[in-house]
Assembly symmetry: none
Homo-oligomer: 213 residues x 4
DNA sequence: GATGAATGAGTCTTCATTCAT
DNA sequence: CATGAATGAAGACTCATTCAT
């Protein structure tokens, strides 16, 4: 077997195990058992256990970035409405998670308690997602689709939280129950909830006071 | 020192450490060092490391339940508007997380890879939050404030994800940067985004865009 | 409660537990639980766990010695036959074990793996039993009841082994099944097996089968 | 080193230590120090400390069974006398213990206070020895060599106790003092004591009374 | 490259003993 | 004297990593 293939094999089985059992409860023994290779072989391709995990995350990260770039190149910004744009973004992101529910689980449910360098990678990924969303909200504000009073920081969190949890729920936790649910349906549903609140044209004076009476 | 006090002390320091370093990377050694007690003392009050963690989560769970009950008894359902009700709920939940940012971190960032019985407790907590939200959405539908076409499952996830992420972001991760941000402001902001989408009166024929007829 | 009574109480419960579970598997916690006293109280009466155990054995040792002395004073050496004497001795020893099946179990089944000072006490007890038996065999040889060719060392072991095992079997292991078996019956049975071999008058030339001359 | 060899090595050193210090006082640290291996190596071959001990006992058990079978196939039952048969059995058993004085010590001196599964194995071994002896006594009764009045249960205990104690005394405790004593001599001596009592043809009426004179 | 036996630092857990109240 | 919370040395077991074959 070629070196690259073997490395990919190890990654594949590791991904399965990390997704199901998490970083700590997945042992090298489990990986070599499932991959039917010798203990030492793992260390021929990876520096250590961390390295496997980080490689997995890095792959994910790269895939996600490429997905974003590809998507943008396909959009016709002159024609698309703000609502459709939002829906497109949500759909692309959901699709990304749907395509790899194992990595989805790893990223969305791993948190505190991993080694420092692992946490860094996860936070970079999460931070980047958030940043992109925020930038697009700014864009919306400049194009007058979104009120300037909107707290982009907060809204970015709302969107991120909502979308990531949706991904976790439909693609990992309740995967079987909703396997007929399409990414398109989910994106449509999310957009319908967020669009009215995001794209409302509210005069600033009414927004800033809670209750004028 | 009285038994209950000592137990509370151990729990307090454990909470700090679990929050900062997670379950796996927090060692009994760390706990006894910070609590300035002997190794054996921990085991006088807790069966093992799991037991400490689960006790912590159970306490949290109880606090949260009590908070919900207390809040409901204080609301005057005959006068409050749907929007204000939503805002109240969001605020209570955020307040709950704001009050204990350590447990907030533990619950929101712990996921896969803990022992079985620990995962169970966490999932129960998350599930209960989601269930309550869903029930209130049903209530909204019956009182005609929320469209019957709304996918309550999905919306419950959107709200849960949005609120939990907001809590994590403002009360844990960026705590220092936003320490002047009040819970009220956050609740207001979240409500403003969600209310228009939730309480819109949309005729069913316009919503069903996929209608084959 | 008086000091001596409390000490006796601790000894009593310790004996039960040591007999049932052995030295290592009996914990101070078990003793104080059964005796319904506080942990520290044990150490008011005994230096440590070893001390309890050794006190128990010493009591046993003393009881046994006294039993022997009492018995000898009751025998009329001018009238008793060698066979009856043997039977008497066996009976006394069996009675001694029968009277306290817990200590019987402790002594007969404890072996290697106890702390040094405990082992010493046990070996002293066993050694003393053996020595007494051997001395009586010498006496038998001098009174011409037992052949001078007899290997007293070996025979002492045979008797000791046979009697101790009988005690263990009938008074501890199969206690329930044979609770109607009297000590007298056992002594009679043992005597019947050993007497013919012990008191035979064998000419020396026939015994020394390995004689090279 | 091959796996089986390494396992045998660990067993060998463990046997030495268990024999000398017993189960509880022998630590994994002692074993790895004496075997000059790493701590983890032990756990590559054995599940835990119990597993080592039980493996040792099981090996012993198997050896003993095989010894019995081999011995029986070598005897010519048509020619041998009852006394010689007894002597042969005693000799075989003694030889068995003489061949491995460490396991002899472990089995003969271990008793109460070991973990449940260990005690089970020890009791099986002891029980089997006793059963075999009893069966042969029955055989003796059917062939009219042994009186039917004889209490086989009791006599089996006498023989077992006598032989096991002899083994312990000569092969373990006083090993150095009697290293010139042959197994044959011991078997001869034991037989000489037991044979007259076992093979006496006593009319039942004379047996039941103690001494009419 | 592949193997898997060997390694040993690291961790949890136990339990006899102490001592302030 | 009695109590029982606190102690900490000791010991079993784990598992990522190495390296000779």
């Amino acid at each position: 077997m070629k070196a690259e293939d073997r490395k990919a094999l190890i990654l594949m089985y590791s991904k399965q195990l990390f997704s199901e059992y998490g970083y700590h409860m997945t042992q090298i023994s489990d990986i070599i058992k499932r991959a039917r290779i010798a203990r030492g072989t793992v260390y021929q391709y990876f520096k250590n256990k961390d390295d496997i995990f980080i490689t997995l995350l890095d792959n994910y990260f790269t895939t996600w970035r490429n997905g974003l770039a590809k998507r943008d190149s396909e959009l016709d910004f002159s024609k698309i409405t703000a609502v459709d744009f939002l829906k497109q973004r949500i759909k692309t992101t959901l699709q990304f998670f749907a395509d790899d529910h194992e990595l989805c689980n790893i990223v969305l449910k791993m948190g505190v308690g991993l080694h420092d360098n692992i946490e860094k990678v996860i936070q970079r990924l999460e931070g980047d997602i958030q940043t992109i969303i925020k930038e697009e909200l700014y864009l919306g504000q400049r194009t007058r689709n979104i009120s300037e009073d909107m707290d982009t920081d907060l809204v970015a969190n709302l969107l991120t939280g909502a979308v990531l949890r949706t991904a976790l729920y439909y693609f990992v936790q309740e995967r079987e129950a909703f396997k007929d649910k399409t990414v398109d349906e989910l994106a449509e549903g999310i957009t319908r909830v967020f669009a009215p609140g995001l794209f409302q044209k509210v005069p600033s004076e009414e927004q800033e006071t809670n209750d004028p009476s």
